[in-house]
């Protein structure tokens, strides 16, 4: 594993690579990187998952795709809870930058609820959080609402549910 270096652009194609490299160039290097030290062993920790795939439960308001179609430099900044027992039959997936059919077939490709439940049952982690989270990865020109409103709300929810560790997977 030590000798292996991931090719970040293996699947991107030239156009997406060009856009991402330009985006990296435009980022101001962070002056500090936040760091929290785990306080419990994995086997006692409660784990929450987060995806950027625009997943919402059927009984919730879905991510707004029409808004993004009308305004291509806007992305929906809301966040949604996904219950830990959700299956692919219970969710909507709205994201205009990927093929969402895989997640619709098997939610675990982006939000591994079943593998996490299995690890909790096996005692490898303490427990799965009762709820997990989705946001919309594409935020266009202004990510301030995601950062300053949705982010703190997600933190509050994680604290209320006594989450110890969070694993995030952009899609």
């Amino acid at each position: 594993m030590r000798d292996h270096q991931v090719d970040a652009f293996r699947f991107s194609g030239r156009l997406v690579k060009k856009i991402i490299l330009a985006a990296i160039d435009a980022i101001e290097p962070p002056t500090n990187i936040p760091w929290a030290v785990p306080t419990k062993p994995l086997a006692e920790s409660r784990v929450a998952l987060l995806t950027t795939a625009g997943v919402s439960m059927h009984d919730d308001v879905p991510f707004d795709m029409e808004g993004e179609r009308k305004d291509p430099v806007w992305g929906d900044p809301i966040w949604r809870k996904v219950r830990s027992d959700a299956t692919s039959n219970a969710i909507d997936v709205n994201h205009l930058h990927i093929d969402t059919s895989y997640i619709k077939s098997d939610i675990n490709v982006a939000l591994p609820l079943q593998p996490l439940a299995d690890l909790a049952a096996a005692g490898i982690v303490g427990s799965a959080a009762p709820n997990h989270y989705s946001i919309m990865g594409f935020q266009g020109e202004d990510s301030s609402t995601l950062e300053n409103v949705s982010g703190p709300e997600i933190v509050r929810s994680m604290r209320d549910e006594e989450v110890d560790l969070a694993i995030l997977a952009p899609v």
Binding site: M1, H4, V6, D7, A8, R10, F11, S12, K18, I20, I24, P29, P30, N32, I33, P34, W35, A36, P38, V47, T52, A53, E68, P72, V73, L96, H97, I98, D99, T100, Y102, I103, S105, D106, N108, V109, A110, P112, Q114, P115, D118, L119, I124, G137, F138, G140, L146, S150, G151, I154, V155, R159, V163, L165, A166, I167, L168, A169, P170, V171
Partner: protein, 107 residues
């Protein structure tokens, strides 16, 4: 997304971010990054491939134990089962921003 991870970590909850585009995550200043070569839309593995999904999740969990400093990038050695040319991940229609940038002559 990177911003949300930073918010969560700032609040005292350790995070691991799993991503193909680890260079972007590193530039944003993510606390712990698990880089892996899985295509967009399926970071944990293929549909119904519970073994790989579970292995990716476990590799991410191990980073909570092994990472010693902020900004650590761990390169995971998972190998996707298809060549990039045969891997379908694009949306059925171009994303609005792609269309917009083309109209603007930016790409």
């Amino acid at each position: 997304m990177g911003l949300v991870a930073r918010r969560i970590e700032e609040a005292g909850i350790p995070t691991v971010t799993i991503n193909l585009i680890w260079e972007f995550q590193r530039a944003l200043g993510m606390p712990r990054v698990a880089a892996l070569e899985h295509p967009f839309g399926r970071p944990y593995g293929e549909v119904d491939d519970r073994n790989t999904q579970s292995a990716v999740l476990r590799a991410a969990l191990e980073l909570f134990v092994s990472a010693q400093q902020p900004g650590q990038v761990e390169h995971l050695d998972f190998v996707w089962h298809e060549e990039p040319k045969r891997t379908r991940w694009h949306p059925p229609e171009p994303a609005p921003i792609i269309r917009y940038m083309k109209e603007q002559g930016k790409i």
